[in-house]
């Protein structure tokens, strides 16, 4: 199988709080013959602070990253963190649609911008190589899971241009490809509270509780995510969530890369499964459906 070379933008979370995401991603990439080439000298994408404080900064920072990728000869860049992905994709979209912004950024960066590399999120990358997955499955992932997409992977539609915005299905398809069953539920893109995790974690508790409650009610044995923030709010903050639920839940939260890694028979250590707050164990006892809090 030919190596698929893809530019890799880890951002801050993959090196820190979402090390498990990075570990499982690298393990799966190796197994599927994908070469992740870390962009040399990459800088911060700006994240939330960037676009809240200064528009030009919020575009110039990601564009600088993409220019470095292009210089390194990479036609595609994958950013596993959904926020980094959204910032890179938005900046790319702005350059393509606003000549005024493009001119400003070119002047700031002292270079001309012709064509920027395509920006992908982790689901898009895995979908690109989905035909490589099925033949390598050694142990089917036979669990029923709830795929939770969060807010940044599929919106806004004109920037991401990928999957349905209100009821996305691409991650569900990946889970199905490794033998899993996914539930049909309406909380796929409902808000989890995002960075209120830091400032008012009770909000995350309340919103996360609604999400978990619905997942458990529909017999999910785990929640599958593709974003470090989604993971942390549903896993790290499980305590706050359980405080708001009559019937506590201990179903685990897995990254899609961990799910695929398990199905490919990769060792648990390589997939970072030990780093979770909610222990990863199957089958999680299906609890009685909690009543409305």
């Amino acid at each position: 199988m030919t190596d698929l070379k893809v530019g890799y933008y880890p951002g801050c979370s993959l090196q820190g709080s979402s090390r498990d995401f990075a570990e499982s991603l690298h393990a799966v990439a190796k197994a599927l013959s994908i070469e992740l080439v870390e962009i040399p000298e990459w800088n911060c994408c700006g994240a939330s602070s960037g676009h809240m404080l200064d528009h030009l900064l919020s575009v110039a920072l990601p564009v600088n990253v993409l220019l470095k990728a292009r210089k390194a000869g990479l036609p595609q860049v994958m950013a596993p963190c959904a926020s980094c992905y959204n910032r890179l994709a938005t900046a790319s979209h702005e350059i393509a649609t606003s000549p005024a912004t493009k001119a400003q950024v070119e002047s700031v960066l002292q270079t001309s911008i012709d064509k920027l590399p395509r920006v992908l999120n982790v689901i898009e990358l895995l979908a690109q190589v989905s035909d490589r997955i099925a033949p390598k499955v050694t142990k089917k992932f036979e669990q029923t899971v709830a795929c939770y997409y969060g807010c940044l992977l599929v919106r806004p539609a004109k920037v991401t241009g990928f999957d349905r915005t209100e009821d996305p299905v691409e991650m569900d398809k990946l889970v199905a490809a490794v033998g899993g069953k996914t539930i049909d539920w309406s909380f796929k893109t409902e808000c989890c509270g995002a960075s209120f995790s830091i400032s008012r974690s009770s909000v995350v508790g309340r919103l996360g509780a609604k999400i978990m409650q619905d997942a458990v009610k529909r017999q999910a044995e785990a929640v599958v995510v593709a974003c470090p923030m989604c993971h942390s709010n549903l896993d790290l903050r499980r305590g706050e969530i359980n405080q708001q639920l009559e019937h506590k839940t201990d179903i685990p939260v897995l990254f899609i890369t961990q799910v695929i890694g398990l199905a490919l028979g990769l060792p648990k250590k390589q997939l970072g499964l030990g780093r979770h707050f909610v222990p990863v164990k199957f089958p999680a006892k299906p609890l009685a459906p909690p009543t409305v809090p």
């Binding site: 349905r164 915005t165 209100e166 009821d167 539920w185 309406s186 409902e190 619905d214 009610k217």
Partner: protein, 663 residues
């Protein structure tokens, strides 16, 4: 040799105060071809006109220039006068020395010089005027009404009552349209079918109306007054003369589980069916796609059991060609499908329905006999949420326009629900309430004050199913954007009104313009709402834009009057300011080379192809020909023509260049 008369009007002081009229008169007399020039205080007055007529006779004038106000003011006046004086009215032109001269310039030599120039221009033009004759186009006094909903029914009845025959063509097996599906109509809460069915019967019985149901218009050739309509009468597989409407065939048909279109899929119908009990005509039709006999040759139960032997399984479609003078388009609308709404479940929740389905639930003749029973399990919903503006006023995911009728029918639905379920609660999520008609606002107030309907101003971001109920997540903007979550038993979406699925295709076939949303385009949005830019084709009802029943009926009558007006004259008389393609003697026949650039430039499809043949019938040349019944005289074709084979009467090349020679 021309004998032109020039008449310079003082217009009181309006012209004479600024322009030296005596000088202009003198200058006119010096112009070649002018044999008579006078000035007068008020040319448009009786004595002024008499003077003009007398001059024509005395001086044997063959052309007249009146230098006075704008031709837009008095050209018809003086043309009539000239005609009374004995010359062709088109041999009279006006020089505008008032609006374009005396009123806008200071008194002085340049102004008088300009007046003289303007007169000279018109003298040169009128020398090249031809005596034009108004065009007479014969008119077939028979109308075609396309569409048998309330718009088509009203138009057909009005035209028929003026004495002209009407052919009413309806695609489905019965007339009635969407109005026949409604339970009650706002603002009176009249039973819809009770007010509609008498009209339907009147149409069927009217001696001047020929009713073709289950038929479609295949082709429309020709032009105003002279259309040829090709109608396909689809085979019902029934001999309508023998069928007495007993209904045995429908009872005995073994194929029973086809979703009933009239009941919006809430119930089933057999393969041989009458759309609804009050259908006109009350004759069944066989659904060929679902009938066992037509799928695999078996069954024929209806044929065996029909007491009058009316079943004709070998009946073929019939094609008929009719001569038609005018067409009224009344093809109606559809509503946006629920599956369009991703936030509301993509159509997968049975209890998230649209307005039309609600009408069938509420209707006494509907699948539940008018009882409020929700589609999924037949239980009576205790809490119903109505979502207004579903798809309308939505630039991003829907259509940007307002669908006009939904605020009213949502209030109506909420009221009907409250009347039928006394302990129930209706909640309406709205953006604005548009109730602009007569008694409309009072109607909505009734819903709130008398029937206890709750109105929440805000949009709904998501509807999902949970434990047999529907969770509706919205917001109350009047309470400062406070989130509202309701557990409802049924959700009714007021989905956007849209043009029919085949509207674009029909418009293209008929050469009628349409807008980006496929609604047919009126000739002028303010002043010509029932006409199209295609002469002879008129509009009625929702095929043009969303509207309610009173407006539809009014517009249908308006279209009918236009048709009656067209039919009231023995012939259609038109101004002869039209384009003409030249004809020459053989072997040239015409300077036209048949490139037909003119045809694509013409906004009125007024240019046709004419094959010039020799005696054996061989085609020698195909050249352009202007249809005098359609040409509006804009002249765009004239400047498009490469060989200058086409010219505009009244503003010919010769005339315009003659004017330019005066510079």
């Amino acid at each position: 040799m021309s004998r032109i008369g020039v008449f310079i009007c003082h217009c009181g002081e309006n012209i004479a105060g600024t322009v030296d009229v005596a000088a202009v008169t003198q200058a006119a007399l010096d112009m070649t071809g002018v044999v008579h020039a006078v000035d007068y205080k008020y040319m448009c007055s009786d004595p002024g006109q008499t003077m003009l007529k007398d001059a024509i006779v005395e001086k044997k004038l063959d052309g007249v220039v009146v230098a006075a106000c704008s031709p837009r003011m008095h050209e018809p006046t003086f043309r009539r006068t000239a005609e009374e004086g004995g010359i062709n009215p088109y041999q009279c032109e006006m020089a505008n020395i008032r609006e374009h001269c005396s009123w806008v310039h200071e008194k002085g030599t340049p102004t008088t010089a300009k007046a003289i120039d303007l007169v000279r221009f018109q003298v040169e033009k009128v020398k090249r005027n031809h005596p034009l004759v108004p065009i007479r186009v014969p008119v077939t006094k028979k109308a075609l009404v396309l569409g048998g909903g309330i718009a088509g029914i009203q138009a057909a009845l009005d035209i028929a009552n003026t004495g002209s025959p009407v052919l009413l063509v309806e695609k489905s097996p019965s007339i009635g349209g969407h109005m026949s599906q409604l339970s009650e109509t706002f603002p009176t809460l009249d039973c819809s079918q009770c007010i509609l069915t008498p009209r339907m019967v009147e149409v069927a019985r009217h001696p001047n109306i020929t009713l073709y149901t289950y038929s479609e218009l295949e082709k429309l050739d020709g032009f105003i007054g002279n259309f040829k309509a090709t109608i396909r009468r689809k085979a019902r597989k029934i001999d309508e003369k023998l069928c007495n409407g007993c209904g045995v065939c429908q009872q005995k048909c073994p194929v029973k589980k086809i979703p009933d279109e009239f009941n919006e899929g809430l119930s089933n119908r057999p393969a041989i069916f009458v759309p609804f009990p009050q259908a006109v005509p009350n004759k069944p039709v066989i659904d060929l796609a679902n009938c066992t006999y037509f799928k695999n040759g078996k069954c024929k139960a209806c044929e065996k059991l029909c007491p009058t032997k009316a079943i004709r399984l070998d009946q073929e479609d019939q094609i008929e060609v009719h001569d038609i003078g005018a067409v009224v388009l009344a093809t109606g609308f559809k509503t946006m499908p629920v599956s369009n709404f991703s936030e509301y479940g993509y159509g997968k929740y049975k209890d998230v329905i649209d307005g039309m389905k609600f009408e069938r639930l509420a209707s006494a003749s509907g699948p539940t006999g008018g009882a409020m029973k929700r589609p999924s399990d037949g239980k009576t919903p205790q809490h119903v949420v109505f979502i207004a503006c579903a798809g309308s006023r939505d630039r991003l995911k829907g259509v940007p326009y307002c669908s006009k009728i939904c605020c009213m029918y949502t209030a109506k639905h909420a009221m009907l629900y409250q009347h039928k379920v006394h302990g129930g609660q209706a909640t309406v999520f709205y953006m604005d309430v548009r109730a602009a008609g007569k008694n409309y606002d009072e109607f909505v107030r009734r819903a709130v004050e008398e029937d206890g309907v709750k109105y929440v101003r805000g949009r709904v971001s998501r509807v999902y199913e949970d434990d047999g109920q529907l969770v509706v997540k919205g917001v109350d903007t009047l309470l400062g954007a406070e989130p509202v979550e309701i557990r409802a038993d049924m959700v009714v979406l007021a989905t956007a009104v849209q043009a029919q699925n085949d509207a674009e295709e029909l418009a293209q076939r008929l050469h009628v313009s349409y807008d980006p949303y496929k609604f047919f385009a009126e000739a002028h949005p303010k002043l010509r709402p029932v006409e199209t830019n295609t002469a002879g084709i008129f509009l009625a009802g929702t095929c043009q834009a969303p509207r309610d029943i009173p407006e539809t009926v009014a517009q249908a009558s308006g279209a009918a009057v236009k048709v009656a007006g067209l039919f009231s004259q023995p012939e259609l008389t038109r101004e002869p300011i039209i384009a003409v393609v030249d004809r020459q003697p053989p072997p040239v026949f015409s300077h036209c080379v048949g490139c037909f650039l003119c045809k694509s430039a013409c906004p009125y499809q007024a240019i046709e192809e004419e094959s010039i043949k020799n005696r054996n019938g061989d085609v020698l040349k195909v050249v352009a020909k202007v249809n005098p019944g359609l040409c509006q005289g804009c002249g765009t074709c004239v400047s498009t023509c490469r060989t200058k084979a086409i010219d505009l009467q009244g503003f010919s090349n010769e005339q315009v260049f003659a004017e330019l020679m005066c510079i």
